[in-house]
């Protein structure tokens, strides 16, 4: 469970990124976090992973009070949350296999066990044939799948996907959303930040809207168009 209680974040420059946000996301939910650029979507993700500390309020992830978490416990928190970064953050001098292996390597997972799990997630995201390639050799959609595979590697409780369809064409974007939806169906909580109205309208999921750091709506959407075979 993720719970933000009256969370505000003011940066050193004086910019108010978030203002008194109350948000609770239950285990196994799929939530779209929507809003224009600068509305605070990424800031919420960064607060959840303790990349930033809130200026005010409390953030609870599972049983952890994130802001009060001692420094040495932060890696434990981050291993339980898979993040698909907006800029992917893949290591360019490592192969796809090695990129996906990285979280497992960091967690000290046994090599054989890791190998099996990597093969499994590579199959799951549909890029098994690219495992020996380097990121520079893949297309945007394939790279996005690599980032998702890496986020999945440690079977996290939560996946935070920050604009995972940002630079992709419509068809590829739908494939990525389908993939995230499938992951969610297996029990993982998924929060996807986007400003693509097509997904929001096309899927019957909870939508949390932000604007200028304020939560302006939180509703469960009803299907407006035929859902795309999910």
């Amino acid at each position: 469970m993720i719970k933000l209680d009256k969370v505000s974040k003011k940066f050193g420059t004086g910019t108010l990124a978030l203002s008194s946000i109350d948000l609770t996301i239950e285990n196994g939910e799929f939530v779209f976090l929507v809003g224009p650029s600068g509305s605070g979507k990424t800031t919420i993700f960064r607060l959840i992973t303790r990349e930033l500390l809130p200026t005010e309020g409390t953030i609870i992830v599972n049983d952890w009070d994130v802001a009060k978490l001692p420094k040495h416990k932060i890696p434990h928190l981050r291993k339980r949350i898979g993040v698909v970064f907006q800029d992917l953050k893949l290591l360019l001098d490592r192969t796809i296999f090695e990129n996906i292996a990285l979280p497992m390597e960091i967690a000290g997972v046994n090599i054989l066990e890791a190998k099996n799990r990597i093969e499994e997630v590579l199959e799951q995201v549909g890029i098994a044939e690219h495992k020996e390639k380097f990121p520079i050799q893949l297309s945007g959609g394939e790279l996005q799948r690599v980032a998702i595979a890496r986020a999945l590697a440690l079977s996290p409780d939560i996946i935070l996907a920050d604009e995972p369809t940002g630079n992709l064409d419509t068809n590829t974007s739908w494939e990525i959303v389908k993939l995230l939806s499938l992951i969610n169906q297996k029990g993982t909580t998924v929060i996807m930040a986007t400003h693509n109205a097509e997904f929001i309208n096309g899927l019957a999921k909870r939508v949390v809207s932000l604007d200028k750091g304020r939560l302006i709506s939180d509703e469960k959407k009803k299907k407006k168009t035929k859902e795309k075979n999910l």
């Binding site: 990349e51 890696p75 928190l77 981050r78 291993k79 953050k89 979280p103 390597e105 960091i106 967690a107």
Partner: protein
């Protein structure tokens, strides 16, 4: 295993930086090795001289043999004296000829007439040497008295000066090594800043990030220490014939092989600490 692979990868990607770090480490451990040879060699030489409580008294050229015999008898009767050996002019020539048998020019120039006769006197206790020295020095028959205490104190002051210079050199070179490794590893950490950030965001601990860099510093230390040790050891072994004839009679050689092995082990430990500390300093700036 993966960490070692990363270390090797990092080193191969910037061979010139690695070479600079290894060279400066080599220089440091070359100085450490030579300083160690000096310390152990001088300690052996000093203890050799100290173990020989001896005064050598050279007679004036015009001293009569009867006067010499009288003095010799007088000394033999003294309780504190362990032995008295008379070395005649002819004996002195023989010793000289033996010492310079490979140099005919030096042999031609010297005859028994110009070499003084002498008495070599050993005492039971080293503390009695001073009294014997004073007695002989005041004798009108004696031209010069050589006292081992002078040799030991001269040697001690020379070696302690050399040790001080050597120690300062080792400290300066160690500091230079630290600065070079901090710079080399610092540049690499800086180049990998983004990768480090990514690793932290997906749950890497600081130690997971630090290890490859620290192992890299230790690698530079080990290779540098081995090269420094190897060069110094080969140089010493190569100079053994020359040093043996220069340090005639002083039993320093042959140096036991165990000494070289122990020195290498000690240098590896020191190099490991130096390398690890330098890398730790470099990474510390980025992982606060």
């Amino acid at each position: 295993m993966k960490t070692l692979k990363t270390v090797w990868h990092n080193i191969r990607r910037s061979p010139y930086q690695a070479l600079a770090a290894i060279m400066v480490m080599m220089l440091t451990f070359l100085a450490v090795s030579f300083l160690t040879f000096l310390i152990f060699g001088s300690a052996k030489a000093i203890s050799y001289f100290e173990s020989k409580p001896q005064v050598t008294a050279f007679f004036r050229n015009d001293t009569k043999q009867s006067d010499i015999n009288e003095l010799e008898t007088k000394l033999r009767d003294t309780e504190s004296i362990a032995s008295v050996k008379f070395v005649s002019k002819e004996d002195a020539l023989k010793i000289y000829q033996e010492q310079n048998k490979n140099d005919p020019l030096l042999l031609d120039l010297v005859t028994a007439d110009i070499l003084p006769a002498s008495l070599e006197i050993s005492t039971v206790k080293i503390s009695d040497l001073e009294n014997v020295y004073q007695t002989l020095k005041s004798s009108p028959l004696i031209q010069e008295v050589i006292f081992q205490k002078d040799v030991v104190s001269t040697l001690t002051s020379w070696t302690s000066a050399l040790r001080r210079v050597g120690l300062v050199l080792v400290i300066v070179l160690s500091l230079v090594s630290i600065f070079i490794i901090v710079t080399v590893v610092g540049v690499k950490v800086s180049q990998k800043k983004e990768d480090i950030e990514i690793m932290r965001l997906i749950g890497a601990t600081n130690w997971y990030i630090r290890w490859p860099f620290i192992l890299e510093g230790i690698f530079y230390g080990f290779i540098g220490a081995f090269l420094g040790w190897a060069v110094a050891t080969v140089a010493l072994l190569y100079s053994v014939p020359f040093l043996s004839s220069f340090l005639k009679g002083i039993p320093i050689f042959p140096v036991p092989l165990l000494f070289f092995a122990e020195l290498l082990l000690a240098e590896f430990i020191l190099a490991g600490i130096l390398g690890a500390f330098s890398s730790f300093l470099a990474v510390l700036r980025y992982l606060k």
